[in-house]
């Protein structure tokens, strides 16, 4: 029975909900629950945590009683490369934004995301990133005036970017 269960999508769905519910309950216990009349900050999360755990058990229970074949949890064609690129995009935005400013951040963010497509070329990604950077800087820095330097003053200094690398 357990062998079929580990191939059920709802096994994991219920499991995740139970874990989250229990985590919430544990954390909420450290806040003052108070009484029904004078509720403390911990009361509401405590109820919600318990409900979430119960719902998780319900989902897991239906997975256990229902028959059927193995289910796919990952999509049919996992796009590991594309997912990495999409997730790397905000990471690079943060990194380049802190060390380089708005323009490098925008360029890096768009460039890496564009590489995720199956038919992407370096040239295509480069041109797209260049276009979006020009447009984005014009719009956000000059029209909307977001307080975000286009280039940090010491953007070209090597130590500003990699000063933390112990060399």
């Amino acid at each position: 029975m357990l062998r079929t269960l580990v191939h059920k999508r709802d096994f994991y769905a219920g499991g995740v909900m139970i874990l989250m519910g229990c985590g919430v309950v544990l954390q909420a216990r450290s806040y003052n629950a108070g009484t029904l009349m004078h509720m403390g900050p911990g009361f509401f999360p405590l109820i919600l945590g318990v409900i979430l755990t119960l719902l998780g058990m319900l989902i897991l229970g239906t997975a256990a009683v229902s028959g059927g074949d193995r289910e796919r949890i990952l999509p049919e064609q996992p796009e590991w490369w594309a997912w990495t690129c999409i997730l790397a995009s905000p990471v690079l935005f943060i990194f380049c934004g802190i060390h380089g400013g708005m323009a490098p951040a925008t360029f890096a963010c768009v460039f890496i995301a564009a590489l995720g497509d199956r038919n992407a070329t370096f040239k295509g990604a480069f041109l797209l990133a260049l276009g979006v950077t020009t447009f984005g800087v014009l719009l956000f820095a000059y029209v909307l005036k977001i307080p975000f330097q286009i280039f940090k003053p010491d953007v070209l200094e090597w130590s500003n970017w990699f000063g933390w690398v112990p060399l």
Binding site: P41, L55, T106
Partner: protein, 546 residues
């Protein structure tokens, strides 16, 4: 009797005075401009395969921080109903159900296009949309003041049970498993708790991070769930579109008299069904369009024509989508209870502007309420003007490949979420939420109820605590007060009904309103809320055509 007539006349005359005032607000150049920008952007993203109104509104949300409240709301609402016009073009000409409400339109719209009558289908769509929307707006004008009059009597207990009903309906009547929907609502409520407690000010679930003291940013939550997670599930899935049939000119759009005659009654029936669906929270435009298509097929004398290019099959779902889209605003604006994720975002935008949603909104901010209603008319007229002569331009937009679209959108996600607080922490937040959203998506959870729970969460907790403080800790208060009891009973009926449907039909899909064969078509359009690849469309077509 005379008194009743007198009362009716009074209601109508106040409505006209208010509406006149609303037009004054909506026609101010500043507001008119933003309304136009909203419908233009909405129409554009409606046409683009792979971009939904939810992602777009979340991206635009930070830009509204600096705007006046009226202009901000007008623009966001414009994006929502504008996207419905664009979505129809995508369904009819490309067989791509870019937005779930238009998935059924593909069934008859695309065969019409293949027969060379795509222009007629689009023309009928524009008429049906306008009829449906006009009815939805009229309904809002007359129904909202009545709802408000009732809701102003509500104490904390009533508000609390009403919210519970709204949350339950929103999570169980929508697509997918009801249990999972409720779980997502609870998760949303929990995410809403993060930050300082409203009464004691003590931090909850902040994990020692001072940036979380103000709570999770709604922009980060929405962009993570409907931006990053959505891009992850559609990347490399959207093939280049086939624009072989998309050559539509303006003069093709004028429908013949015969077509108009055929479409007139289905249009009206669709409108009525849509406006009824809008009043039940959680059954938004998608369900409305499916129900009306099924009804139309059932009562038609020639049901075999459906799926092979029946003009009725285009007119009725489109009319019902639009009447339901406008009707969706009724509970949102008059009670402060959103029916779906888009409405939750709209309420989020109101809250950011410092406006408390709820029944007092109409009297405290009449400019927003009546301005919004008037802008619906203006926006719909603008959309007809935009769609009829500029159809060629929209068709060209269909050809923008997704590989250029999503990287640019990633930039808007990052900079948008950064600009909410000018803090890189928010960008990290959106990344984490995006990953979590995609995992939940893979496990078969729909993200929309999270946003509902998140937006209603703080007000729900506040009213819950207040109700029990007043009743001195007696939980029976929710059953002793009659109005509250009605809501609680409705909640129970909703849950028992779901269990009943489950037990009777073990493989049932939880949505009792929609017949199974249409539901199959609907299912293949999820989990992606904003797109569906070609294969899915082929599957969607087969159960009905066979």
């Amino acid at each position: 009797m005379v008194q009743l007539v007198w009362l009716g006349a009074a209601v109508i005359s106040t409505a006209f005075t208010d509406l006149y005032y609303g037009f004054g607000v909506a026609l101010e150049p500043h507001n008119l401009l933003w309304c136009f920008v909203g419908v233009l952007i909405g129409n554009m993203v409606g046409v683009l395969p792979g971009m939904g109104p939810l992602a777009t509104i979340s991206i635009l949300l930070p830009l509204t921080f600096g705007m006046k409240p009226v202009a901000a709301i007008l623009m966001i609402a414009g994006v929502y109903y504008g996207a419905q016009y664009g979505g129809a073009i995508c369904s009819i000409l490309l067989n791509l159900p870019c937005h779930p409400p238009h998935a059924v339109t593909c069934l008859d719209g695309f065969p019409l296009t293949q027969q060379g009558k795509g222009g007629t289908a689009l023309g009928i769509t524009v008429i049906a949309s306008f009829v449906g929307a006009s009815w939805g707006i009229t309904e809002m004008i007359f129904l909202s003041p009545l709802l408000v009059r009732a809701a102003l009597q509500f104490g904390p207990a009533e508000v609390c049970s009403l919210m519970l009903l709204g949350l339950l309906a929103g999570s169980t009547l929508a697509r997918g498993s009801p249990v999972k929907g409720v779980a997502m609502t609870v998760l949303g409520l929990l995410i809403g708790i993060v930050g300082s407690d409203i009464e004691t000010g003590s931090p909850r679930f902040t994990f020692g991070l001072p940036q979380l003291d103000d709570g999770i940013e709604i922009v980060a939550l929405a962009l993570g769930l409907f931006g990053i997670a959505e891009f992850m599930s559609s990347v490399n899935k959207i093939s280049d579109v086939n624009t072989k049939y998309s050559n539509v000119r303006l003069r093709d759009m004028r429908p013949s008299k015969e077509d108009l005659k055929k479409a007139a009654m289905p249009m009206l029936r669709g409108t009525i069904i849509g406006s009824l669906c809008a009043l039940i929270p959680g059954t938004g435009p998608t369900i409305a369009s499916f129900v009306s298509y099924a009804t139309e097929k059932k009562i038609s004398k020639t049901p075999e024509r459906f799926g092979h290019g029946a003009i009725e099959g285009v007119a009725c779902p489109e009319a019902s989508t639009h009447s339901s889209v406008q009707g969706d605003f009724i509970p949102t604006m008059s009670l402060g209870i959103p029916g779906d994720a888009v409405m939750a975002l709209l309420l989020g935008a109101l809250i950011i502007q410092g406006i408390v949603p709820g029944p007092q909104l109409i009297s405290e901010h009449p400019d927003i309420f009546w301005g919004l209603i008037a802008s619906f008319w203006i926006g719909n007229i603008l959309l007809v003007i935009l769609n009829v002569p500029m159809i060629g331009l929209w068709v060209k937009l269909l050809m923008i490949p997704y590989k250029y679209l999503y990287p640019s959108a990633m930039f808007f996600v990052c900079i948008g979420v950064y600009s909410t607080n000018n803090d890189m922490f928010q960008v990290g937040e959106v990344l984490v939420i995006g990953i979590a959203g995609y995992i939940l998506n893979m496990l078969g959870f729909h993200p929309a109820p999270i946003l509902l729970g998140f937006v209603l969460g703080p007000r729900f907790e506040e009213n819950f605590r207040r109700a029990l403080l007043i009743s001195r800790g007696d939980l029976m208060v929710f059953l002793e007060r009659p109005i509250s009891a009605v809501f609680v009973i409705l909640c129970a009926v909703l849950i028992l009904g779901q269990i009943y449907v489950r037990l009777r039909k073990p493989k049932g899909n939880g949505s009792p309103l929609v017949p199974p064969e249409i539901l199959l078509a609907a299912q293949s359009t999820h989990p992606g809320t904003a797109h569906a690849p070609h294969e899915a469309t082929a599957q969607a077509r087969s159960p009905v055509t066979s």
